[in-house]
């Protein structure tokens, strides 16, 4: 608890001014000194908070992640299919926002690199959380399937990736969500729901 607030404040300052400058001139063109000048601190201080300039980008990713976690547990009460749809929707929105920030900020190559990193990490989290959600729906009896939880979450994650990949350049959120809904319906009717029917017959 030692001087925690001061530290937090300084870090937040750096992040805030950095993002603002990145939006104006792009990541590459902004020097560390510009950032620290904007904050009214010495250059060296920056490196007490971020080991390398690049790490401030990873920090952005981390903030994004925290939002992701929130989304994944936001719809705990709803039916499984609804939960999934709501999560898809929120994720697309979040993703679009993040991608827009990166587009403003970064030059093509590094942007792709960072975004891949984010997506990759998100995919892991998403799939894991989806697994937990499915498992709990199975446990409380609201959802049944002969499919292993891992397989279902893998397929559902696949749908999301598929859509994110295909629509990555011009981010039309509505279109993406529509496509996801279609895909989900097909999968749901074709496999998951069908499996439920089978299970009921037994």
């Amino acid at each position: 608890m030692y001087r925690e607030n001061r530290k937090k404040q300084t870090k937040a300052d750096i992040v805030q001014h950095a993002i603002s400058l990145f939006k104006q001139k792009g990541y590459e063109k902004v020097t560390v000194e510009e950032i620290t000048n904007a904050c009214g601190i010495a250059k060296g201080t920056f490196f007490n908070y971020f080991p390398k300039k690049e790490y401030i980008l990873l920090h952005l990713t981390d903030s994004y992640m925290e939002l992701l976690d929130h989304i994944l547990h936001k719809y705990d009460g709803a039916s499984l299919k609804d939960q999934i749809l709501f999560i898809y929707r929120d994720l697309i929105t979040l993703y679009a926002k993040y991608a827009d920030l990166l587009r403003l900020t970064l030059e093509e190559t590094i942007r792709f690199s960072i975004r891949s990193h984010t997506e990759q990490t998100n995919i892991m989290r998403f799939q894991k959380s989806l697994g937990a959600i499915i498992e709990s729906a199975k446990n409380n009896g609201s959802f049944q399937s002969q499919w292993k939880t891992d397989q279902i979450s893998s397929i559902l994650t696949g749908l999301l990736i598929n859509v994110l990949i295909h629509y990555s350049s011009p981010l039309d959120k509505a279109q993406m969500l529509e496509e996801l809904k279609n895909q989900l319906n097909i999968v749901w009717e074709g496999i998951i729901h069908e499996s439920m029917e089978e299970n009921r017959k037994k």
Copy 2:
């Protein structure tokens, strides 16, 4: 065709010496000057071939890609399921090799970034090529399914991602392939083959 060979030679030289040095000391610790000294060329020359130091890593990714393309069309004669299994196997081997190189070469954070980039790009290619393979199997009648090609390739790609993600740290190739085979069998029997049976009955 103008002096192409000379250019190719210089570039190949740079790449070769760079990789060798990266393996010895790691990407970060190797300076551009070291690389050019090893090649017996001037520092400036490096930047005639790679706009930034970092781009030499992306070049590695590109080489890797070329191998991927080759793999994806290597088993054109075989049955669809065999093709997929063979491709899975080769991809895991290729992936392990690449991941090992990166592990030797790069420090954790940037490595993850670059690897994500590679995986992401590969996934797109893989899924697209898989689509083409499935489509052609459908066309020549050796494979039938009520499922849309996109859906199948999405699911099959999902399996691969799933395995790559879960086994990414300790790369046990045999284990990864075994898992993939199991998953493929379940999916194949459960969905794809079943659909074929239905189609045959009609």
